[in-house]
Amino acid sequence: MATFLFKRLSMMVLTMVAASFLVFAVSEFTPGSVARKSLGPFATQQQVDILTEKLRANDPLLVRYFRWVGVLLGAIPDPLQDPSTGLNFTDPRGAQYFGNFGYSTLNKLPVNDVIWDRLANTALLAGLAFLLIVPLSIAFGVLSGLKEGGALDRTLSVVCITFTSIPEFASGVFLVTLFVILWPVLPGTSQLDEGSGWPIASQLVLPVAVLVIYDFGYVARMIRVSMIGVMERPFIRTAVLKGMSTRRMVFGHALRNAMIAPFTVLLLQINFLISGVVVTELVFAYPGFGRLLLEASLFGDIATLEAATLITVAIAVTTQFIGDLGYMLLDPRIRVS
């Protein structure tokens, strides 16, 4: 078990290093420089050149990458916070500490000041969506998996496939048209703001609905496949032959077994929801992590982008890991190699 944990952890670190380097390398394609972004569009070329030199922003890619790693690990102070730059960038935590994501050129604030609140907002959104996706998809999946190819199965399958085919921005458009414009019972934007005259709960309805619509159908399909597999197992057939009630059969035997494979899939949805929130947050002006990530990539704010990448990759790898652990717990036959 200890080796397993160690292997997983080192894998996670390796993935994060590789991912962060990839983002760094890809950002090379963007025209422009850290200096220009820090100073704003109307600074003169001379000012930009001076700052570029001060920040040593023309060093080779690898040098700059390792400098960024150094700042992150607290080995060196953030060059952007040096008073000699004249940028007036200061982090209350200091210029040098472990976990220093650096200074956002987009928000002109330490990344750590911005990103965690946004992440918490997104966690609320994704968490609520997840709470709905799980029971909905289990209900749909189990019902259609009970009798493969039956009328119920076909109907539910088509419903699921249809919902999976509606991208978030399209369902956003449909829902806003219906519930904000034609029948105005919900707010059109969700800034999580008490003062807007709409309770916070009402502001969450549409964004959560958009995420659920796009995702639950897919998970339900997974559970269905797994359920079909379980229904064909001998012990279930025996139970059915013995005249056990459907309800007892499902809750007593089938569900636990049917959930083993989709358990991992469900956890993977957490990762998938991170993609989903980008569009959803844009549609509803939701102050979350996805919008921050989008704005950072459009602006070329490498510090925020790297922080966001590390966080998403960490979430992805962690959920995978939890998935594997859960898999072991649910199915004792599986042993860690």
Binding site: F169, Q269, N271, S275, V278, L294, L298, G300, A316, V317
Partner: protein, 290 residues
């Protein structure tokens, strides 16, 4: 995309292909509905130049006062007075070229990688798999946004982004299939006959992965259409004035209160085409199930 897991849920089998699989497909109602939806868009897209349509970029200033459906513009116009029907149909041309092309390139790369990893195993497998892990650890859309925001939106760049984002997933499926197949007797027989490795891969292994990969490709085309739509919606779509469904939705949301059709119509177009590919994939999978 996690949709690849759907494929892994089913068990790959050898030689389904022999018994005229297309007749099976013809009997699947789901597949037929999906096919009809896809064919509808393919036909109008191909026929667009000969259809009596407005130019998708021509601006009808007179229609701007009331851009709602009329005898001259059946679905109305967009906010610049361009005919919606023409833009939807010419938009289909773009998406029906870009999405399948992207997926084809991604399949080519992904299947090659997966074959190599599955067939050789060992360090080849380790390198390819670890690299795939890194890519798969990114939320897909984030990967697209980072790539396209940096290298700029164009057909070729969308193909590149799709390849980078999808090839690892395709590779993983292929690897799984090949792992199952390489111990099969007919592969061993081919080896005994002294066939070359490329021959074994292309002639013995690939055809047996074909059904799974076709189903996967359909799903991926659907997902790529969604992604192209999202990119357009985020303002990273194909450059104007080319009609781009996602971009049309984005433009339309500005006036959704008064003219909801401007964003609802392209949304429906995207949903219908994606639904077509997804139903087709589902039908194929059901039909070709062992």
């Amino acid at each position: 995309m996690a949709q690849s897991e759907v494929i892994q849920g089913a068990i790959p089998t050898a030689r389904v292909w022999g018994r005229s699989p297309w007749t099976l497909v013809l009997r699947s109602r789901t597949a037929m509905i999906g096919l009809a939806l896809v064919l509808f868009w393919v036909v109008v897209a191909v026929a667009a130049p000969v259809l009596p349509l407005y130019s998708p970029t021509a601006q009808d200033v007179t229609a701007l006062a009331d851009p709602t459906p009329s005898a001259t513009h059946w679905l109305g116009t967009d906010i610049l007075g361009r005919d919606m029907v023409a833009r939807l149909i010419f938009g289909a041309r773009t998406v029906l070229v870009v999405a399948p092309l992207s997926v084809a390139v991604a399949m080519l790369v992904g299947v090659t990688l997966g074959m190599l990893a599955g067939y050789y195993g060992g360090w080849v497998d380790a390198v390819i798999s670890r690299f795939s892990d890194v890519i798969l650890a990114f939320p897909v859309l984030v990967l697209y946004v980072i790539l396209i925001a940096n290298i700029g939106p164009s057909v070729i760049n969308i193909v590149i982004a799709t390849t980078i984002a999808s090839a690892p997933g395709i590779g993983r499926i292929t690897r799984g299939l090949v792992l199952g197949l390489r111990e099969q007797e007919y592969v061993a027989a081919a080896k005994l006959r002294g066939e070359s490795t490329p021959y074994i891969m292309l002639v013995e292994l690939l055809p047996n992965c074909r059904s799974m990969l076709i189903v996967d490709a359909c799903l991926r085309i659907g997902y790529t259409i969604i992604t192209i739509g999202i990119l357009g919606f985020l303002g990273l779509g194909l450059p104007p004035p080319n009609p781009d469904w996602g971009g049309m939705v984005k433009e339309g949301t500005t006036v959704i209160n008064v003219w909801p059709l401007m964003s609802v119509a392209p949304s429906i177009a995207i949903v219908s085409l994606v639904l077509g590919f997804n139903l087709l994939a589902d039908g194929l999978r059901e039909a070709w199930k062992p």
